[in-house]
Subunit: 312 residues, 2 copies
């Protein structure tokens, strides 16, 4: 975390401020990362007055002795109504991000010039995203991608269709949150357990098959997980695989228009993306797994480059 | 709560012991109810050693000075593995109840002879019920019903096909529990509220229509409830109606084989049954609303009559 050479002087700060965590990168003018830091002060845990101190806790050492004000570009839930400052949604169809569309935030510390990347909204059917638009920009920034389908698995999975470089439409599926609630708090909690990080057993893809063949039966199939553990002494790991497979399979079936005619860019990392990749391949989809960790930073850099173009 | 005439001497005690509550009736030989009492000591709140005291708290006054031992017939979750004593499931196809099949429970108080009505299980697809089998017996006992479809809405709704007086198959749908979890604990809790007892607004049947037309889209439709409240300032009551309509509509679509060829006996009472009746009618089903409150007692009486036949 030093910036000893001129070429690595701090140019701007990239911030990904989600519901559960905060990540920041110190970036040089040539795009190289000088330092990074993170904390658990996500939007869900702090009040409006806590944002600036939480940010300074991470970036304070980077801006000591900074000449002038350092641009700080923030994406994610910090722009929500309950966040730092509401950044009004941009309506699709539109490009994922636009350099001129940052929502400025006043700070007491004049060494920071903070702007929040707006999320995207869709009128019909109603939907919103915050944070994923920046990852989409990162995906498009690095390559000559103009038309693509994208899946971002997670608490609230997003499926996105990009046409001619613009977000044409998207769908949010609450798969991750439903898995946590149903597996952890419903009657099924007695029949679902084990680590979600392990390799799934054969029950996972069987359940994916079942859901893809009959996606209307999700709510009328769930209780069989409980009944199986009572009648057949099925293990909690098996119950977890079936619940995961039914929910992911139902999601994939509902999102068929996104993947039936073109490959899916699957953004993320780790066991969850591996499950989605296996399930999508089972359904007959082609997948391209993208490393999610770098895309947020690449997207924020795209915003920074847009700001410079406007200023030039 | 007196038993002053000979014709109203206590003959047996009926008990409905569910997850959240305990109800008991003192019944005379002619079937008339001499007294009733209830408490909140459901199976979910008490340990194995608490069952006999909890029962005596309610029925103690009824058996003071009883000559001999009084039969106590219990249905519901008291027969679960985590309950008073596990009453092994009977396998469908079978009659809803059988007088000889009670699971006896030893009590310290010799004035009680307790037996638990077994639940039913199904091998393919795996499913179980406890308590509803007694209501089904009550439904059949009163009338010349041999073939019927039955819907028992609730936390875990049950759909049952009765053929020639026997339970042929059944399906559990976790609609009520999913409504409580998703509406109360997911991100949608910010967009769902108001009393579930009120008359639903037009959003309810619109959501039923949507789910019946496209029941595979439940998990990919839920988030629109959140997005509507962010983008269009939709009310929490409207959000509640949509969530309820999507879940009930999805259930009705999945259970079409139960209602497409014959009317549905809808067992229960109050606003929930009214919602199911309206939604089923919207789907084109014929419904016969049954008063649920008396059916459990009628079913327990059917078990009592079966015991007497065996003894005779």
């Amino acid at each position: 975390m030093t910036a000893s050479t001129t070429s690595h002087a701090l140019d701007w700060i990239a911030v990904d401020w989600g519901t559960t965590s905060l990540r920041a990168w110190a970036v040089a003018a040539d795009g190289s990362v000088i330092a990074q830091a993170s904390s658990d002060k996500g939007m869900g845990k702090i009040g409006r007055a806590d944002y600036e101190p939480a940010l300074l806790e991470l970036v304070g050492p980077w801006i000591e002795g900074a000449s002038g004000s350092i641009p700080v570009i923030v994406c994610g839930m910090a722009g929500a109504r309950q966040g730092w400052k509401e950044a009004a949604y941009r309506s699709v169809p539109c490009q994922p991000v636009a350099g001129e569309a940052l929502t400025p935030v006043e700070t007491a510390d004049r060494r920071l010039t903070v702007g929040i990347v707006p999320g995207l909204c869709q009128a019909k059917p109603e939907d919103v995203m915050r944070g994923e638009e920046t990852q989409l920009a990162g995906l498009l920034a690095g390559r000559a991608i103009e038309d693509a389908s994208v899946c971002l698995p997670g608490t609230h999975s997003k499926w996105v269709s990009i046409d001619a470089g613009r977000v044409a439409r998207f769908t949010t599926v609450m798969t991750g949150e439903l898995f946590a609630l149903i597996g952890g708090q419903s009657i099924l909690r007695h029949s679902v357990g084990g680590s979600g990080d392990r390799e799934p057993g054969p029950g996972f893809l069987d359940a994916v098959d079942q859901a893809i063949a009959d996606p209307a039966s999700l709510t009328s199939s769930l209780f069989s997980i409980r009944a199986r553990s009572l009648l057949a002494e099925a293990s909690p790991e098996d119950g977890s695989d079936i619940l995961s497979g039914l929910l992911i399979g139902t999601e994939i079936a509902a999102c068929r228009p996104y993947w039936q005619d073109r490959p899916v860019h699957l953004i993320g990392a780790g066991p969850l993306v591996a499950r989605y990749a296996a399930a999508l391949q089972r359904a007959g989809a082609r997948t391209i797994v993208e490393d999610g960790s770098g895309l947020t930073l690449a997207g924020l850099a795209r915003v920074r480059a847009g700001m410079k173009e406007i200023a030039a």
